[in-house]
Amino acid sequence: MTETELTLYLPCGKPLKKNEKAMLISEITSEFKSVNLSDVTVKDSFYEVKRAMPEVIELVLAVLAATANIVTIAMGIRNFLKKREDIKEIRLKTKSLQLVINGKMSDEDIIQLVEQAGKIVEKEK
């Protein structure tokens, strides 16, 4: 089993205290475990300024993972977002894909989104 490392990009609006950040990471990791992803770890974290859309980019996860894992990772993130209403959406990035996940998405929505993103990548190739 390969380990998936995540880099957490937090919004710049409110820097977190060490315990707040640890709690956030623990909550995310726990949701990954709930979808049987025990090999996902948060490697690093940064704050990111993207000034044009502060209301949308609340949290960004840059993921280096195999595409097959993306659907499951996205489901874990969706589950996390269901519980954290203060975070509107999470951008999930891989080397080739960029997905925007929100807490209202169903499993089917996520599968469709990953498939569509995959098709766009194929077309660009």
């Binding site: 710049c12 820097p15 205290k17 060490k18 950040k21 704050y47 300024v49 993207k50 000034r51 044009a52």
Partner: protein, 193 residues
């Protein structure tokens, strides 16, 4: 709605297209500091005619910097904000606790229609057209935040070899009379200077 352009990819793709004889350089401020009024100016190389036209028409001139911050410092104790006991926005000995970004890395720049900071936008656009071995230079001067910005940008273009000295002189002369507008070299009548 935000329009995001991966400028480098666009540039590579567009250079391969027919309009390889046209290249543009846009200049504008990207970051302003709230305390000192200082700012950082960026230079963008653009080869996509569609993007160039949108900048000229004013559809997109906003600049949105992408910055990664790895550490915050507390303004009260000057220690790592993550580990200190102070809370942002609260008063300590009549001083408000603020967080100061440290470990800043500039990761990218996007062209947007509505930048969060209205001062962060393209103020100057240099077009270099080449046809049958002859070069034509056009300088579009848009609204500036500071009247010296335009001359600074022309100087920057000269120092970086984007325009020769006579062209820089001609543009400076034009914009010393007009605050905004389009200067060409050689001009539309074929005159030089």
């Amino acid at each position: 709605m935000r329009i995001l352009y991966n400028l480098l990819n666009k540039l590579e793709k567009s250079l391969k297209k027919k309009n390889s004889s046209l290249i543009a350089f846009a200049f504008g401020s990207v970051i302003y500091t709230s305390d000192t009024g200082g700012y950082i100016t960026a230079e963008l190389k653009i080869g996509d005619l569609n993007v160039i036209n949108k900048i000229i028409s004013g559809e997109i001139r906003g600049l949105s910097p992408e910055i990664k911050i790895s550490k915050w410092e507390c303004s009260i104790c000057n220690k790592n904000f993550e580990e200190c006991p102070h809370e942002e926005g609260k008063l300590y000995n009549n001083k408000i606790c603020k967080t100061i970004a440290k470990g800043i890395e500039f990761t990218g720049l996007s062209l947007v229609d509505h930048p969060e900071d209205p001062r962060c936008r393209i103020t100057d656009l240099l077009l270099i057209k080449e046809k049958a071995g002859k070069r034509k230079y056009e300088w579009y001067g848009f609204k500036v935040n500071n009247e010296n910005d335009r001359f600074r940008n022309i100087q920057h273009a000269l120092e970086n070899g984007l325009i020769p000295q006579d062209v820089a002189f001609s543009f400076s002369k034009f914009f010393s009379i007009k605050l905004e507008g389009k200067a060409s070299y050689p001009d539309s009548h074929g005159k030089i200077g």
